[in-house]
């Protein structure tokens, strides 16, 4: 669909886009999207259309009159469709293989756990989501991925309290 064709389509630009305000920046009159994680975030927003997608870059066009239209190019950060599925597979294997273990070294050195750690920051929202459902020994991974340790000294060894320390950290860092 070309910008011209889109411009011919009736489309009302709303004054309040259904996009989280923090994802918008206004620079010299341009409205720029940033930090959206999935192209589906913008596909269904009526005031914009995707003109072209290529190699992770989408050209999006505000659906407003042609003479006032602007082409905006953004790099889309897409979550790999398989990341969540891979995380779940690794998590299940890890839990099953380490349930009888007491040593944190043995628990954290499991191959599946290491592969989750290898996902880096992308694993954080998945781990935190898991922790809201079922506390487990995610602390080693979280410390190494984030470089931080928000657990209170008096909570160490207490899984429910340590979990809540980390979930508080997650909320304050917008992971939850």
């Amino acid at each position: 669909m070309t910008p011209f064709v889109e411009a011919m389509c009736p489309s009302d630009v709303t004054s309040t886009p259904p996009i989280p305000h923090e994802k918008l920046k206004c620079t010299n009159g341009e409205i720029i999207y940033s930090d959206f994680k999935n192209v589906r975030d913008i596909q269904y927003i009526p005031e914009f259309v995707i003109v072209n997608r290529n190699n992770g870059v989408a050209t999006i066009h505000p659906a407003k009159p042609f003479l006032n239209s602007e082409l905006i190019e953004h790099e889309i950060i897409e979550e790999p469709e398989g990341l969540m599925e891979l995380f779940q597979e690794l998590k299940i294997t890890w839990k099953n293989d380490t349930a009888h273990l007491s040593s944190p070294f043995d628990i954290a050195m499991h191959e599946s756990y290491q592969r989750i750690m290898g996902m880096g920051e992308k694993a954080l929202p998945l781990i935190f989501e898991e922790m809201t459902k079922e506390p487990d020994y995610w602390f080693w991974a979280l410390r190494h991925i984030t470089g931080e340790n928000p657990t209170r000294i008096e909570h160490r060894g207490n899984m429910p309290l340590m979990t809540e320390d980390w979930l508080s950290w997650a909320r304050s860092h917008s992971y939850l």
């Binding site: 349930a99 009888h100 007491s102 944190p104 043995d106 602390f139 060894g157 899984m159």
Partner: protein, 146 residues
Amino acid sequence: MSDEKLRAIFPNLLNTPYVITSEKDKKYNCIAWAAGDNAKWWWPLPEDNYWPNEAQAGNTMRTFADTFGEMGYDICEHGGLEPGYEKVALYTIDKAPTHMARQLPTGDWTSKCGQLEDISHLLEGIEGDGYGSVALFMKRPNLDFS
């Protein structure tokens, strides 16, 4: 399912007596259970775990011996039942601590199997690829003995 899983992890349980004595519980581990604590996860890795003396951090037999020494235990030669004493047994794989069991008044042993259940068992019942073998016995006077 619990019995099936335990026997898969510890094949010796197929040929030695054991009894599951609790529900699964993630709050405490084998070291805590050996020390009489069922509320915390014990391990000499202070960043995430409870250890009574954080200055003794380190995944070594010496660390465990020293810490249980501070709880009144002395190293002893065997795991046989001795009236007036309670004992603990440290399992290792290649000298790295993996598990502790605590002796029951009957002479059998009780273990908290990670996040799984407590079981009462013979020492050899949980030896194998999962926990290795017993490398250290310690004992202390049983204050409740009468």
